[in-house]
């Protein structure tokens, strides 16, 4: 009989009844409000049939931010270079389609994920032995290196002008119509759902827990025998693969790819989106993407400079007062509400 079972017999204590144990055992269960984003996404499809292009862009941004959350929010890897994987995925899909090698979308996405994962693994393997400013610098350099490489190889990548191509219909039946983006939207939503299910499972698994441990106290993780570097590399590779899928989706829904997918601007934007929503909280990506893109859509068109100014001020305020983003603020308010209710 195990020690634990023997102890239970002796003490007669049923640990499973203890609130702390119950909380841990139940943590992964799906709560009712987790369905809201998905219901909202489906409602959007019917409510805004002429804005499905924007909707697709929004869903892709959610996926991209989600991929960053895995590395940054859960493992604590601070990177300004996630566009490297987005761009790799986009170019993989783009070039496969442009050169007529492969135009079917779903396997195209898998190729994008694979290519990005390779880059992620290779760069993670060498970069993740550094930390702090050095690591940040190196992530910037990797992205810049890929960007310049794509520029240099403009004969095959199209350089600044980029590549235009066509993608075959999904499952052979649902065509990507550039004027009416319903296929794009539902396809993207489906991919996002699958990827999100993957990330959610990962986050609640023991592996995901150990990532949180690495983020919280890396020295302690070493001291409990955790193979920290291996975990970080795996996490970074998975994060890269997801970012690659996001990039691939972007190429597929726009039938276009260019150097902008590898820019510092794109890395910085996805970081802002995630921070705005709240990192390390799974749904921060959703909230951040919605808030950022909606604001940008309405403000940046009309007053681009004011938008930049406002964004800058917002970032300063977030860094000073609301480092956990909108979800963090929400949590804080909820805790206060609960405390007041308990006191009453």
């Amino acid at each position: 009989m195990s020690d634990v079972a023997a102890a239970k017999l002796v003490t007669g204590v049923d640990f499973a009844a203890h609130p702390a144990a119950r909380a841990l055992m139940r943590r992964h269960r799906i709560r009712w409000w987790e369905l809201i984003p998905w219901l909202a996404a489906i409602a959007y499809y019917f409510a805004f049939p002429h804005y499905l292009g924007f909707g697709s862009e929004l869903l892709i941004t959610v996926l991209f931010a989600l991929s960053l959350d895995l590395a940054l929010g859960y493992a604590g890897i601070i990177t300004l270079g996630h566009a490297a994987f987005f761009g790799t995925g986009a170019y993989t899909v783009g070039m496969l389609a442009y050169y007529g090698i492969w135009i079917e979308p779903i396997v195209g996405l898998m190729c994008a994920a694979l290519a990005a994962a390779v880059i992620g693994f290779a760069s993670g393997f060498v970069l993740l032995r550094t930390k702090g400013l050095t690591l940040l610098m190196l992530t910037l350099c990797v992205t810049a290196l890929l960007e310049q490489g794509a520029n240099m190889a403009r004969d095959i990548t199209g350089g600044f002008d980029g590549l235009n191509f066509t993608i075959a219909p999904v499952f052979g039946r649902f065509e990507f119509n550039p004027l009416f983006a319903n296929t794009q939207y539902l396809y993207t939503l489906g991919v996002l759902l699958v990827c999100f299910a993957f990330v959610r499972t990962l986050v609640y698994s023991p592996f995901g827990q150990s990532l949180t441990g690495i983020r919280e106290n890396i020295l302690r993780m070493h001291a409990i025998g955790s193979p920290v570097k291996l975990r970080l590399i795996i996490c970074y590779t998975l994060s890269a693969a997801l970012a690659g899928i996001a990039g691939g989706l972007s190429a597929q829904t726009n039938d276009y790819v260019n150097l902008a997918t590898l820019s510092l601007d794109r890395s910085a934007t996805v970081l802002i989106v995630l921070i705005l929503g709240g990192y390390g909280r799974l749904y921060g990506a959703f909230i951040g993407a919605v808030v950022y893109l909606v604001l940008e859509h309405f403000l940046a068109q009309v007053y681009p400079t004011a938008w930049q100014l406002g964004l800058g001020l917002l970032l300063v305020l977030i860094a000073l007062f609301a480092r956990n983003g909108i979800l963090g603020l929400g949590e804080m308010l909820w805790r206060r509400y609960e405390a007041r209710r308990a006191a009453a």
Partner: protein, 251 residues
């Protein structure tokens, strides 16, 4: 005759011109209750860092159960059965007490690499962690965040994590350090109740604790072993008194 669990041979560590640890030959037997004492800066923590693989030695070897582990990393040594607590807590402050201990138990069981099934399904991990918390009288705060606890109980969590690793050799770096005297007895009670087969080395300054707990004492001065023996022998040793205990000895 007890078997030697941990041994060092001519273990040394230099930092430039500073000889932090010099030619230490040290043995720790199974079931040992061994105290390491010495003035500040004597090299005690450096010695622990060498034993656990946080620092590589400049010279010498570390052996665990007869096997040379000098080239292994810190994480590998934990897997081999050496665990230590830190002088300043290294805890997951944002996580609950239960989560802290579960992290260690999961790692020990080799389950931490699993990516598919939820951590919550591992009821064996949770049960074991809860039982450990129960033993250390931490069960009532299992759900609390570590950062919310008073320092003494945080120190106890540090100990809980380490015990959760089920080590064969346990190195405690001043376990009661920084704990208000009103709370320190809970730490010391826990240390006393450690399983008998574990080899325990404790760095301590408080001579009361040393006398209460240790069967053997090693005195370290300026990186070298100055004296070794039972607590009584050490206390009676006039040279040790001079160097460390000062004129007022222990009654």
């Amino acid at each position: 005759m007890s078997e030697t669990r941990l041994e060092t041979q001519a273990l040394s560590r230099q930092f430039g011109a500073l000889r932090a640890v010099q030619q230490i030959d040290f043995k720790l037997d199974a079931g040992a209750r061994h105290a390491l004492i010495g003035p500040n800066g004597a090299g005690k923590t450096t010695f622990i860092n060498l034993l656990t693989g946080v620092l590589p030695p400049s010279e010498g070897r570390v052996l665990l159960g007869g096997r040379d582990i000098t080239a292994t990393t810190q994480a590998e040594r934990v897997k081999l059965g050496i665990a230590r607590t830190f002088q300043i807590n290294r805890l997951f402050r944002g996580l609950s007490v239960l989560e802290n201990v579960c992290m260690a138990v999961t790692e020990r069981l080799g389950a931490a690499g699993s990516m598919i099934y939820p951590a919550g399904r591992r009821s064996d991990v949770i049960d074991e962690a809860m039982e450990l918390l129960q033993t250390l009288k931490l069960a009532d705060v299992a759900r609390h965040r570590v950062s919310e606890l008073p320092y003494g109980r945080q120190r106890l969590v540090e100990l809980a994590i380490t015990i959760g690793l089920k080590p064969e050799v346990l190195l405690l770096d001043e376990p009661a350090a920084g704990v208000p005297s009103a709370e320190s007895h809970i730490i010391l009670d826990a240390v006393e109740r450690l399983p008998a087969h574990i080899a325990v080395l404790i760095i301590e300054h408080d001579m009361d604790v040393v006398f209460r707990f240790a069967k053997r004492v090693t005195v370290m001065v300026s990186g070298a072993i100055f004296a070794e023996g039972t607590p009584r022998e050490i206390e009676a040793n006039s040279q040790v008194r001079e160097v460390y205990l000062g004129q007022s000895g222990h009654a």
